[in-house]
Symmetry: C2
């Protein structure tokens, strides 16, 4: 018989791993709810017509496609076999695919349910997505996204709140982070002023190296990328941008004075930084003009979060997009959103050993099974404990003591209760603290009080 296995790039989650994952998800959910975001879920399968063409050619290839039920074979012709174009034939024999992200299904949801939704619509969604990527260390074919988006509101308050949410989540998780902000409009303004619109990515990449290679080398790199001397001259104050945040804004206002869009971008960022100051955000928030993620869809603010104490890529990202639902025939719906990278956050918590002490203990107390007679005496006591919210187990078989204690140990159960003949006679329960080894006999009511006290904190 063949040994069972699971598909490459997928994972089982053991009880211990689930406890860690739930700790992250529950923290994020709790904060999303605190800010009035409401949960939705969409099906794992979407019609391929919904998914195809939304993620570029590369994305189309990475979609998991589901074979049509029934007589798909008759849809394949001899010509198809000869032509050897798997992508072209796939659409004949597959109408559905697994979702690739949560954004496109959300856009589809908004358009389909537009008449039931009260806008602005603040939704969060935590579900797995699937990509037929080559599996690598830290990259999976099934992984979770944790998105929050507001659609139907242009207000910058949404951006402010999303940064607050980021701050609050990482604060609760005890991860020190820096939030980097940029604005697509400022980048467009820079491009406009120096007249090199198509070189904006080269420019941000070069500026990003200032600390490492110095101003002279940055300017050389810009020249080598074909940026004109005049443009490089104009860029100097931006490249050397420094001082307080207000000084930075002043410099930028000057450089971008002739660009409407650039000036608008600066105004937006000033509003966001001012509001965050009033809101007393705890984490570092930085203006970072080299931040150029998602340039092909973000139209306003761009958000990226870095962990301060671990070398790892961005652990959360987001931004504003102006036309989420246009692809489905509903134009002019502006949105802004963020997505927590659950897998990377999981890695950070593991590396820094930041999981709290007690979160994983499913069970508070295990009752040792000494045999039939003892069990019958135990049953009503255990019922009483459970009524009081104490997570309790009776070891189901009257196995050897050692086996039962190993069970408690391996499952991280902090207390073991023993009721033998003596205890039955005295109507007591012997409670052993598995960490300290301490043992003490209690009446049932004392036992309940002790366990509530010890486990609920």
């Amino acid at each position: 018989m063949q040994k069972p296995s699971i598909p490459k790039g997928t994972r089982d989650f053991s009880p211990e791993e689930m406890a860690k994952r739930n700790y992250i998800f529950d923290t994020i959910k709790e904060v999303y709810k605190l800010y009035g975001y409401r949960q939705i879920e969409t099906p794992a399968m979407e019609n391929l017509s919904t998914l195809m063409g939304k993620y570029g050619d590369e994305g189309d290839k990475l979609l998991f496609k589901i074979l049509n039920s029934g007589d798909y074979l008759s849809k394949i012709s001899n010509e198809d076999l000869e032509e050897k174009n798997p992508a072209k034939t796939a659409v004949k024999i597959s109408e559905r695919g697994l979702r690739y992200d949560l954004t496109v299904p959300f856009a589809r949801y908004v358009v389909m349910h537009r008449n039931e939704i009260t806008f602005p619509f603040k939704r969060y969604q935590i579900q797995p997505v699937w990509r037929a990527d080559r599996p690598q260390r830290g990259r999976y074919r099934e992984f979770f996204q944790c998105d929050a988006d507001v659609v139907g509101s242009d207000s910058l308050l949404n951006e402010v709140e999303l940064v607050q949410i980021i701050d609050e989540v990482f604060n609760r998780l005890n991860i020190r982070v820096c939030v980097k902000l940029n604005n697509r409009k400022i980048l467009s303004g820079i491009a406009e002023v120096i007249g090199e619109a198509e070189k904006i990515v080269d420019i941000t990449v070069a500026i990003d190296k200032l600390d490492k290679i110095g101003l002279e080398k940055v300017n050389e790199e810009l020249t080598s990328k074909g940026v004109s001397d005049e443009a490089i001259q104009k860029l100097q104050p931006i490249i050397k941008l420094s001082g307080t945040i207000d000084e930075k804004f002043a410099t930028m206002r000057e450089v971008l004075a002739t660009s409407n869009i650039g000036t608008e971008g600066i105004k937006e960022m000033e509003y966001i930084f001012n509001s965050l100051e009033i809101m007393n955000v705890a984490c570092d928030v930085e203006l970072d003009l080299t931040l150029a993620r998602g340039l092909n869809y973000y139209t306003g603010a761009i958000i990226e979060v870095k962990a301060l104490d671990v070398e790892i890529g961005s652990i959360t990202g987001g931004g504003r997009y102006d036309n989420l639902t246009g692809i489905f025939g509903m134009p002019d719906v502006s949105g802004v959103g963020i997505s927590f990278g659950a897998d990377r956050i999981y890695d950070v918590l593991n590396q820094l050993d930041l999981y709290p002490d007690k979160f994983g203990n499913a069970t508070d107390v295990l009752f040792v099974n000494f045999g039939e007679k003892e069990v019958m005496h135990i049953l009503p006591i255990v019922t009483k404990l459970r009524t009081n919210g104490i997570r309790s187990e009776i070891y189901p078989d009257s196995a050897k003591m050692k086996k039962q204690m190993t069970y408690a140990d391996n499952n991280h159960i902090p207390f073991v209760a023993m009721i033998g003949e003596n205890e039955i006679e005295e109507n007591k329960v012997m409670l052993k603290n598995m960490k300290s080894g301490e043992q003490k006999a209690y009446a049932t009511d004392e036992l309940i009080a002790t366990l509530i006290d010890a486990t609920k904190k």
Copy 2:
């Protein structure tokens, strides 16, 4: 542009529907944990070699199969096209499928992780499953299962606990139920005693009609199904079984005296009923010899739950199986489990209008947006509320008052806070109770106390 849609038989879950679904799942989870069950999750995709042949020919057809990435086309030959056998060709171009239930992936999990697991292993799992069934009212192609199983223990205490869990869950959900119990061994005993092993399903079906058609007609039906007169004679005490549970057991003991397996089944059921009595289970628990679900896999206790106040099929079921993991080469692992039917429970709660009042309110209070100046004044107040755990929103745009109030209404937000010029001057917040219409001005600290009191109960 085509209108977006979702695949037949799948569903979106709106915030209101999510709140209802979470209410059910959270209740079940909480009780599972109270009894020491630990959560696992498995990937949506399994290798087809894991899934195929486990659900019968019909089940194999209902598996959603995922098209292999890359050059699957070259695996199809001209002969395949001519032979027109989609099932045979499918295994050449598809190696993975979506899980069909949680039981087979769990068996696969236990075998793969046998060295990390401490047995007995009490696990619960709440995840969607997919079946390419013809969609109908109340039957979906994507739906959730909520399973709990214990593997690696023969103890009947597990059966007792599972009935307690059922009792506790429906008690918390306020659904009145009857738990019906039977035992495969008793049915085998009956078959053995009357010498008609292969007719056991016909016999249970006929007995089930006693109340409706009377003893004479039941006997006629048995005759028409080919059961011998002698067998029918022997069956009479079982068909007419009545009296207290102890009297029933006494009658059965007599009838099945010559059958070892039947006698063992009766002993098991007596133990379970006795223990449930000691445990003070609240719901009706009934011995029902006509219960014959899952005869091809259950080997001991059979469990089924009926709602008392709604006409609907079984809303939870389960039983003991002796060889869960044998299919994957790990023999002799006994297990017993139950599965809550989330979709039917959802329907029952809707029909009886049993959802609690407050569960769906994501947000406690909405701050009306009167404009920039007022918002800047509001920001630190809202931060303070959130720090106190009060779910708070600021309407992001300074829209018309009517629009903002409609937003609060449609999202079931119970309180609206208003801070206009007067309130800023007096450092107060005007709070409106959206249900009573009552308005009152509060200082921030009073506001917090009031909202905590009103929303947290």
